[in-house]
Assembly symmetry: C2
């Protein structure tokens, strides 16, 4: 590491430059400092991760409350390395003292697969004689091995190999031309790669062979579009500009926008992490969430044939939503006035790397925020909304996940995820029956049924740390039609069920009752409604985990067994499928299943974490191929009984007239956007011309 | 009617000016012609509605197929009048021949309440001695009756009065100042207004009296915001412009955009009606929907106390989503480059009226349409999407409904509804218990629990009229973990259940299986997937009707008993709660319950209509008051197995590089939006300056 960088770290520590916020991701300099400290102690290692060890919450809350007098939490690097021979170590480095404070050898554990790990396999596969043999059987001449590609996945778990050896399974493809989409040419066999030996140790070969697809390529790049008639020419530009700048302020990584404040963190596993989300309620800065992140996900595939059961990627825990994040580009991924943040990581050799523009922060018009017209006199208020979006996109081999954290002026936090990219595909013979486990999306291409199940980790801080979760079900009133208590049969109410213990909180979605969940501070009642201040989780895309109880996925993805789990806060409990996910057997289940083992533990009026599994079940169709139009899904965290009124009343209206103004007493408020224009289009009838 | 207008109608008919499209709403001239014809026959009448009688579908389909040779369907006016004495007549007028082709006297039926009907009641109420007496009891001096207001609702149904007399119930309010929001000052009694007598015929007075609220006003207009600190000043403008014009063409009322064509109709009940929706699939114009509209809705309130059971507005059938539609304003309701359409109606006197700018048509950027990055070389495609939005907003007394029909480039049609406006409120005494039937959203203000249940009428035309509906449930494969057919327990599939008969199609939502419904043309298989071409209804906000079986709402809103009904197409079946909704008793139930009485009727491979009830259950909170931030809900109609590939592949990408280009062979496609800019915000740290 360069001396000046080390110096910079030292300066941060000694206070000569502004020190990082305790939630800030490790800087490149800090990463290199941690590597230096470890390497000088333990010699040459492969670095798997060097990331911020977030401060203990207890300590951090104190500092947040009084950052002038309370000592700033120290910077600690959380380190994962693989030593020669494949031995895995977890470590912690105190960056202030420059010393290793934890160093632990792990057994039967594999840390996630990095991009570098992924890159390796294809080169090995192409040279492996047995793979070449299988390619020839598939109809690919051995001199065409440079046209053979693979998407290396973690092996998931395969009982034949266990978890002491670091393995990847290579999903095989062919490209007739280097620009052809390989997903139209899946191969039917699956080599197993040993990361330590750097060689193929096994090939899974199906009973029924499926030679390489003879269909013509199915592409999406310009050459093929031009061949099929070219691009449409009838889309006129839409320009979105903010000539006076944006409405948010950036202080370090703290974003200040429309009464919201949020610290934007980022790590290699979860990608964006939002910390210390507060809302300035007329001068009273009220905490809402201590931490929000997508903490895990699993994508089980539904084809029962071997070895497809191994396809159930934990994209965050096994690969890292941060590591796989895209460098976003202006005017492509991001439109309008954009603020970017970079991401710093370590590479295998221990050097710090940077993904430029990893996080996009921008505003969008949000349509009508509220409107009301009085039918008597047409007096009216129309107020347009604005939203702030903090986003990143990551590529998990074939798929892309676009993650948007959206802040609204009415106090709502929305998480929107768009799925795009390319379907994972498998080969099929002409006339072969998919048996319903997949869809032939293109001749010879079988896209298997799958689910995308995300685990949202919500660390609520609703006016303080001590919170309680209630399940809310829309429920008919008691009493038959004609009864005294329900004479007209129209009674209904919000049935609230308190989750007092960890066991009670293990729960599923109920579409019939439009089930929601309130995260409440029962110590503070809304002065009007006399109900506890709360944030409500409104989530409607909540399929159940389809792999059965006792199945490999069910065992490994314990978090996905239920839509909701609530645990008492613990600094160590961040990853719902465990800290090191690849090659876990699920025996025992890691993560949430461990944390909920004491089902009587109280979660009533204490510091809690709510884990919510949501997502979609995807039965592919040809429309999803050769590249999938983005499929959106969303959920909301809405203030309920948190404010005493609509918190966005002071957003300037576009237009407002009152009855007295309509009656001629005073001037209406007209702040209509003057950039908007009427359009007259080409073929328009004369009656419509204005 | 002016002679030149009559002439213009005659010219349309004789072909000297372009005749209206058969789906076009009646023009002002046509409305006046119909009125003239009826008035000359029957003398002075109160006109309730004069609207297009849509052409018979059979005839219309023929004309759509060959509009050159097939005779153009004639223009027919559908007329509802109330004769002196309250007698109601339904009529049809042939506008070509200028003659009345149907004239039917109706018994025990009340047509909807018009805006003029609504306007009357408040004036009567203020002068009624018994109402004045009640106001005094409530604490309002009788000289303050000009400060007393009412929202007149249809009475719904009250067995004491039946349906031979036309009635409204007056929900009473007080305004200390004319600009104060009355919804903070609800009164506890409810006068009943007789439209024929133009007088108050009864007052419902509760056992427990609740004097007028003594809380201070709770307003949202500028004066009150200024008093509380004024408007926020930190929102910088966002400009959205289309300097080269918009991407859609307008021919009459047919919109042509991105392969879509749709005729935009409008009527007084449903508001926007979309007809003959087609998609140009590489030169092949494929029909998708013959007609889409919101056909009905009901808003049951959940307080069991008399007379709140009468609060269950059918906002479309009882008041008219078209009649209540807002005249939209540029730069307020609508931002960007906007095309408006007006709406023509009749008034009570038989004159034609116009709501200017009733429909807004505009484009929006839709974020990322699709993206994929190859992790090997970072070759990438990023394509941004665009959407077309056809919208209107209507005000139903206290509430506003914003209805957005959204067309996407990937073949999806989305319906988004935003609820805003003001909660219906009732009075409560200090310390009174809401008993869970409502929420005290402000001192002395009880906002009752309610549902908004919409009925979407889908007339599918998936590659032709003969369609079939399948229920699709995500389902675990058969066989226990370890069994031969499901060795790993991971098998799952899309279970498809055909609705062969009307009875089989009566069905509910199932959140656990992520239930969707496919509208299929089983006569045409996708050449790749070998599955029928289809459009899938994806709808996740599907609460059940909470009023109980046998209750008044259950009887009157038969359509809302289930999420899905499918009927064989019938020209007469447009309105799921009946043609004339006010004061229906529900004995027997009108609309859908009548149409599904033959549960064995085949709906397999024939011309069908799918009725979908969806919506939300709203448990109010103080955040919703004094004006409610827009609450969105949405559903999708998605092509599945309809196209052979992603139909938006030819949307020009913002950026595209291929592996060969990355390797130096050729130039990448860079069409990034050059209007987008990096921002540097005030407090930004120097590391972020670019």
């Amino acid at each position: 590491m360069a001396l000046d960088r080390l110096k910079s770290v030292a300066q941060h520590i000694s206070g000569t430059t502004p020190p990082p916020h305790p939630f800030d991701p490790l800087s490149n300099a800090e990463i290199e400092a941690a590597v230096q400290i470890i390497s000088s102690e333990y010699g040459k290692l492969h670095f798997n991760a060097v990331t911020l060890r977030e401060p203990a919450k207890k300590e951090m809350l104190k500092w947040l409350e009084d950052s002038t007098n309370v000592p700033r939490p120290i910077r600690v690097a959380d380190v994962v390395v693989i030593a020669p021979g494949g031995k895995v170590f977890d470590g912690l480095v105190d960056l202030k003292e420059g010393k290793i404070i934890k160093w632990e050898a792990l057994d039967g554990v594999q840390p996630l697969i990095t991009m570098e790990d992924l890159q390796t396999v294809e080169h090995v596969v192409r040279k492996d004689p047995k793979v070449i043999e299988q390619c020839v059987i598939s109809g690919i001449p051995k001199e065409d091995m440079h046209k053979v590609y693979c998407d290396p996945w973690t092996i998931g778990y395969d009982h034949r190999f266990g978890n002491n050896v670091r393995l990847q399974q290579a999903l095989m493809y062919y490209r007739p031309h280097m620009d052809d989409s390989q997903y139209s040419f899946p191969l039917d066999f699956c080599p197993i790669f040993d990361a330590d030996k750097q060689e193929i140790v096994h090939i899974d070969i199906p009973d029924i062979r499926r030679p390489v697809n003879q269909a013509k390529p199915n592409n999406y790049h310009p050459v093929s579009i031009e061949k099929e008639g070219g691009y449409r020419k009838d889309i006129k530009p839409i320009n979105i500009t903010q000539p006076d700048g944006v409405s948010f302020k950036v202080e370090g990584r703290v974003i200040d926008w429309q009464n919201w404040k949020v610290h934007v963190g980022f790590n290699y596993k979860e990608g964006i992490v939002l910390n210390n989300i507060t809302y300035n309620d007329k001068g009273n800065v009220r905490p809402i969430f201590y931490r929000l992140s997508l903490a895990e996900m699993v994508v089980p595939y539904g084809n029962p044939e071997h070895p497809h059961q191994r396809k159930h990627a934990f994209d965050l825990g096994e690969y890292g939503g941060g590591y796989m994040t895209n460098s976003l580009s202006l005017g492509c991924d991001c439109k309008g006035a954009i603020h970017y943040m970079d991401a710093a990581f370590v590479n295998r050799a221990g050097e710090s790397t940077t993904i430029k523009n990893a996080i996009c922060i921008h505003e969008e018009d949000a349509g009508i925020l509220f409107k009301h017209t009085d039918f008597r006199d047409d007096s009216v208020i129309v107020t347009r909304g604005r939203k702030l979006i903090i986003s990143h996109i990551f590529t998990a081999a074939n798929y892309e996940y676009c993650v948007y954290w959206i802040f609204h002026q009415d106090g709502t936090v929305q998480l929107e995820i768009k799925l795009t990219g390319i379907l994972n595909t498998y080969s099929m013979n002409p006339g072969e029956d998919t048996k319903g486990w997949g869809t032939e999306v293109y001749p010879g291409v079988n896209a298997h049924n799958h689910q995308h199940l995300f685990c949202l980790r919500i660390d609520p801080n609703i006016d303080g740390s001590n919170n309680t979760v209630f399940q809310v079900d829309a429920t008919q009133g008691a009493g038959a039609v004609g009864s005294k208590e329900n004479p007209y049969g129209n009674a209904f109410f919000a049935k609230r069920t308190k989750y007092s213990t960890v066991g009670e909180a293990i729960s599923d979605y109920d579409g019939v009752t439009s089930r929601t969940w309130d995260m409440c501070n029962t110590n503070k009642l809304n002065p009007y409604s006399h109900k506890p201040v709360s944030y409500k989780l409104v989530s409607r895309e909540v399929p159940k985990l389809l792999p059965k109880e006792g199945s490999l996925v069910w065992k490994r993805a314990g978090f996905a067994r239920h839509a909701i789990h609530v645990t008492k806060y613990d600094d160590e409990q961040l990853y719902p499928a465990g800290r090191h996910v690849p090659q876990t057997s699920g025996e025992p289940s890691k993560g949430i299943p461990e944390w909920i083992s004491n089902s009587d533990a109280s979660i009533d009026n204490t510091d809690i974490v709510l884990w919510h599994t949501f997502g979609i079940t995807h039965f592919p169709a040809p429309e999803d191929f050769p590249v999938m139009p983005a499929e959106p899904m969303t959920l909301l965290l809405r203030p309920r009984n948190f404010f005493t009124k609509n918190p966005a009343l002071d957003v300037p209206p576009s237009y407002c007239s009152t009855p007295s103004q309509i009656a001629g007493q005073g001037k209406v408020l007209d702040a209509a956007d003057k950039m908007s224009q009427l359009v007259v289009t080409a073929g328009e009838a004369d009656c419509c011309k204005k």
